[in-house]
Symmetry: D2
Subunit: 347 residues, 4 copies
């Protein structure tokens, strides 16, 4: 059934296949009066766009976002915002040989099992290209969060376990992967500061629960950690608990093992997220696999693919985080009757 | 806003505070005709129930589930199933001293920041007691899955990094924690076999995305891994991809690094989930913290608390996984027009 | 699938069958800090309760509402509010003869066609008794609306086409119905004043659209009108449009044919709703019908039934209207970015 | 907040303003394998399209629907279907004079009160043009229903109370309205046959409740009736109940006062719906109204407007009905555990 919509108040629906005429998103529930135009989304799109370098595919598209509705004279109107990104550089014939194949590490087999039909070109609906629509939609949330003083720092932290700062080592690794026709896993960290305390809805819509859904919904993510993540399983409570401290009426935690979220609600400390990506499943090295009709074959995938996912996916992590956090802020506005009463007296 | 409901077709709403007269859940959307009575939920409740041993709190309640609606003559009727668990052994006065305190590692501060009011007794709504209602509701999903041939194996894998099989080492660790008034982190693994391929809804309602929400919605979970989890970030594609193989018309993966989910859709292999818990935040060792009015204090928590979370939480992990998987199966039934047509001709 | 939940932010889930041990509702998303106790719901429950008079069934129950969660020291906490109403006066044996029968005008046949199983006692899930849970839940919304200055006037306007004010004529009509073992249709009007302009969400969640769902979800409602209702189909635009007029900076409509809603958004004028009920389907006069196994039979229904629906259903109309309007107010709080910014600076 | 999405499994989101570059809809959750191309939607679009005759506006656009995603080689794939309708004949300057005006009978005042900003051109988001996107999306549901043997008959029944069959009288009425610069109310009836029994979800998602939402979400609808509608309020139970009769194992009602729905569930009889539209609010006759700044003015609306709403809205009624009914069929597929078990053994 339907699974292409995310969010409760700030609601995003994406659509589109890798090699269709366009992909896009509809953002419904954006508050009116937010300054927005096509250029304001460009910085986010640029971070996701392949740049033709060692880290990314040779498929290079401008990825301009057209805003078809919901904005008037440079401001959002409260009506749904339709975002359109035209496709310009599909090489569908690259995929002719894959029409009947279930590529290892891909959703092909699952789509066949579920729907019995599939647009195989470029991975169709399960292509990472779908995330361009998320970045455009998430960009709007990030712009809104920026106005509220929330700041993001999102970085590739490691590739194949090598810290991203060791540039030369990374460079050599990528060269060897290219030579071998192989790919490699990677990691992204996202830190959010300036996010207020009290956001997140017990019990199933905890802030970290919705982050969990948001981040695992990015293809190739196989692990998500909040704060110290899996390391907390090794810790004693006396070391892992973050003491609260009050200074001039302001309450803060002294340490931040929790990553800014306790019991599913933000506590005002930095929100820290760590995401682990599997290696790109499309590799040119030959692999054993099957066709849809159940024939065992040996497959080498041609086409244009990133050897590693994190560099272009970092902004997708940020966009999805932004969607959760901005929606969380909006959801929180009805939490107290006294503020509901004040709101309706204010107007 | 509302956050106490989980699921799309098989929908669970929980309610209740730790020291209120009862807690419970309403399960709406359960198919009619499923054999169910109060005794069928008992095995699940027993696994979550404190047993008074080294691993758990001294608060011991029978946790009998009463079914108030939705079942007639031993079968579900399709009407909402109301599940009630009465409280019998609250010691609310244990918490009198905590009324004005923000306990470190707990949601107290967040609830205050959000709602400005809070039932502090036993942790109120953020108490782990809420998970008893989840286990009752999830138990129904697990019973239904059992009829479809889906099997679960859920285990505590480690406590404080010590494999759970090393019983004596664990025993010594718990003794030393008790002596020190401290607690420790832990891990749970859940493996699901017999789950069909093709389940999960692209793109935001991927099977792993909904598992991510479900599992992070359990208090104290700080990391979730699917399949090989974070280890995939170290792998090459040629090693991480699971080759497909066809044998007598049946397609399977040869290895299972992916943990049974590719592109958010199940592929018929075992679903493997690993969850990491922080140490119980309630410890008797003194900690620095604050009161609601912003006074810095030093706090030692009395009361009855488990020194480690995983042993009683394992069944909660299984229950939440069951909710996602059974809902996924139901959601999938409308995926193909040919099956819709067949369904309405069948009847 | 699940259909027992109503609302988006202020979310109500009802459960329970007519002759089960209890019925109830869970209200999730109620803002914290609303004064509430069991006695505050009593006036609403009293209006729905059978009083043993000419207009209502002889089944008389106290319909006390127990609040099991979500309220602490007389205030809502933001946690889900569980409401329980115990059954005390079921006569299940009255229904033994109906176990295999599809009563005309009832949902029996539909439940069988859908679920293949049914709790027939007292109508089971489709009994009007379910509305007691709605009144309890809706009562909370009505209390909250009262604090915001919103006032309701809900009246039975006619029975069998006879204006309710003509008491003697109504009396004679009811006597003749009783003698004949028959029932009669009826009407209810609800007028809401003091409701602010600007509430309602284009395009599918228009205020009147959600009222339409809410009111048609009350069993036996067969027509709903907003404002002048069907009469507008006879009108010219020049007569039907309500002119706006400004006086001392306050804009109001001069007439109110629209019933306070234009384009799905409230305009500050009174909201006027008219609802039409069919006659009670349970009558003692003999009727032709069938059994579940397809036998044609002749049926006279014994048991305790109201001869007319509106008198006890008026408060249900008010409760459902209250749910839509309070949820609409909460939904509206995120409509403008400037108010979102002010909210987060305010706190 | 977000209000532009309708449906639970078959989910439609519309977007777009009257004078923007395009309007559109995203249909998520359509079963895979449904034959669909752009030409299959044309017949529905034609019925909504202005034809330049007496009954409709002079704004004439081709209203071609482009399918941007979700269809591959003539079949739906289960991925979201993006539908785009470009605008070609806007005369935005017609609306320059209305920028600061609250037109009587329109949503202008409400949008201002809610959002504080508004795209006034052609009515912006509240324009009836939005319904073109609904017809395209609803057309897909109608095509699917057609394959399942469900048939629709939708007709304008009266204009200004004059039965639509009296062509000459209608003609004279429209001439007089044109001369007077006025408009008139109207009625539409929709009858659905071949729809199976057992569809609709108690208690809030009753089939008639969701029809109520769907139909009142069409701008200008002020009354909705199911079956005999308001007339049932005048009836006795003995006359209004539809007796069931069994013939060769098939159970049917002998009469159909209920309009095919009992207790919110279909009973296999024809579903009958009657909808009442107010007169078009845009008239050239001068009216009293206000500006946004609160000045009282006298307004005559120029521009191109239908004098009566029903003729072009009939297909919108059918489309919205189709959305509810097809979604209802899909929702029903998980109602029985025995059919869930059969489904997973079948595959």
């Amino acid at each position: 059934m339907a699974g292409s919509t995310f969010g409760t108040i700030f609601k995003v629906t994406t659509w589109g296949e890798s090699h269709g005429p366009a992909i896009g998103a509809v953002v419904d529930g954006c508050p009116a009066g937010l300054p927005l135009d096509e250029s304001s989304l460009k910085p986010y799109m640029e971070r996701r766009r392949p740049n033709g370098g060692k880290l990314s595919t040779k498929r290079v598209e401008p990825d301009n976002v057209e805003i078809l509705s919901g904005v008037y004279e440079g401001l959002t109107t409260g009506a749904p915002i339709s975002l359109l990104i035209r496709s310009t550089d599909q090489h569908s014939s690259d995929y002719d040989a894959l029409k009947e194949v279930c590529r290892p590490g891909h959703a092909d087999f699952g789509f066949d099992a579920k729907f019995g039909i599939r647009d195989h070109r470029g991975g169709g609906r399960s292509s990472a290209r779908e995330t361009a629509a998320r970045v455009a939609a998430g960009g709007i949330a990030l712009i809104a969060l920026g106005r509220l003083g929330v700041r993001f720092r999102t970085e590739v932290t490691a590739i194949g376990g090598v810290p991203f700062s060791r540039t030369e080592e990374i460079d050599a690794l990528l060269d060897s992967l290219k030579a071998a026709g192989d790919s490699i896993g990677s990691e992204v960290e996202c830190t959010v500061s300036g996010f207020p305390a009290g956001i997140g809805d017990p019990v199933f819509d905890k802030l970290d629960a919705l982050l969990g859904q948001a981040l695992f919904s990015i293809g190739a993510v196989k692990a998500v950690e909040i704060g110290d993540g899996r390391k907390v399983s090794l810790m004693r409570g006396s070391k892992n608990n973050d003491p609260f401290h009050a200074e001039c009426g302001r309450i803060e935690t002294v340490s931040n093992h929790a990553g800014g979220i306790l019991g599913g609600i933000s506590n005002g400390s930095d929100i820290r997220i760590h995401v682990y990506f599997k290696p790109t499943p499309s590799i040119s090295l030959p692999q054993d696999t099957v066709t849809r009709s159940g024939e065992n074959i040996r497959l080498g995938i041609r086409g244009r693919h990133d050897p590693v996912i994190a560099p272009r996916a970092a902004v997708v992590v940020e966009a999805m985080t932004g969607l959760v956090l901005f929606d969380g802020l909006l959801r929180n506005m009805t939490s107290r009757m006294s503020l509901v009463e004040k709101f309706y007296r204010l107007q």
